[in-house]
């Protein structure tokens, strides 16, 4: 799941200052699940901004609307009519959602209310941890299901650096060393051979904007080009 968290209220205020009528768009997908951009957070932010920005002399109106997912066109369709009277949009989706909104309504300024942090897991209520860098070339099979790219501060592929202290990362003694964990798991599974060979330099897949068209749908979009 994509993990995001709300920007500081001051930053959001700064962005939308001067707009009279703002629509705050929530997302029922990942940002709802991580308690950052669901209906409840939409209501909260609307309340906060109304209190902070609305004054005796200042006209300010903000309304909330939560869509199923901001990253799918057919869920945004519903907004087409709704957004019309608004001067600006605030999005409580992840970075992808913000951009998809901005793309759909190019004449409207769209502002992010969240900082998108990482691809992670729900460790416990209100506690999330990164697990994946979406590098496009998964090595988890080799590393016993522990990602050296996401979990090792240096993203090393050939074993730990010189620094693990008490099995923890030299960068942060609260973080377990990914490579100590990889070593221990592979050892327990009898698969240490995996990391005994030199792992060659990776061919990074994430230097340009990622695009994926499935084989089965290729013809469909090829035709459109002509």
């Amino acid at each position: 799941m994509i993990i995001a968290t709300k920007k500081q209220l001051e930053d959001i205020k700064e962005m939308i200052k001067g707009y009279k009528k703002v629509l705050n768009v929530g997302c029922g997908g990942c940002t709802s699940v991580c308690l950052a951009g669901g209906q409840k957070e939409i209501e909260d932010l609307c309340t906060q901004l109304t209190i902070c920005l609305k004054g005796d002399q200042v006209v300010f109106e903000i309304n909330g609307f939560t869509v199923e997912r901001q990253c799918e066109p057919h869920f945004l369709e519903e907004l087409d009519e709704i957004v019309k009277p608004y001067d600006a949009l605030l999005s409580m989706g992840c970075g992808a959602g913000v951009q998809f909104l901005a793309e759909r309504y190019p004449e409207k300024p769209v502002f992010p209310a969240l900082n998108t942090l990482f691809l992670g897991v729900n460790k416990d209520i209100g506690w999330y941890e990164e697990r994946c860098k979406s590098c496009g070339d998964c090595v988890l099979g080799m590393t016993g299901g522990i990602c050296p790219n996401a979990m090792c501060a240096k993203g090393l592929l050939n074993g730990p650096c010189g620094g693990p202290q008490d099995d923890h990362c030299e960068v942060d003694n609260e973080v377990p060393c990914a490579w100590v964990k990889i070593y221990e798991r592979l050892k327990a599974q009898g698969r240490l051979d995996n990391i005994m060979k030199v792992c060659p330099a990776r061919e990074w897949q994430d230097q340009v904007q990622g695009t994926l068209v499935l084989e089965a749908y290729r013809d469909r979009y090829a035709k459109k080009d002509k």
Binding site: G28, G29, S32, V33, E68
Partner: protein, 136 residues
Amino acid sequence: MPDKGSKSINTDQVKALLKKNRRSMKLRLAACAGCTLCAESCFLFMKKGKDPQYMPSYKVLNSLGKLYRKNGKVSRADLEKMRDLLWKNCMLCERCYCAIGVDLPRMIAFARRILRSQGIDGSYLHSLEAQGSKGE
């Protein structure tokens, strides 16, 4: 393995699954006072014109509740009705609020699991989307 093509419902399998979490699920079902205070916490309820069919408690009582009430003796048509409640009417964002503390998402997830065991799942939504339906 769930057999997608078959029309008959494997009642024994459904019963076995129901039995798995019987105590905690029945306790939750019993605790639900039917107060409907959970309704507004569901954003789908709010945006679908406050249609009761989107109320978290409605979705739970008419899927998992029904399965327990009938002790698993349900028809495929019953399950298909539940399918809409469990997949079309719920995104499983796990944000529903219950005044009494019933954890509704867990119950929906469990009901989904039972339906999946009978080869019924949310994949039909994709074909609805492909046909241009907005999932209304």
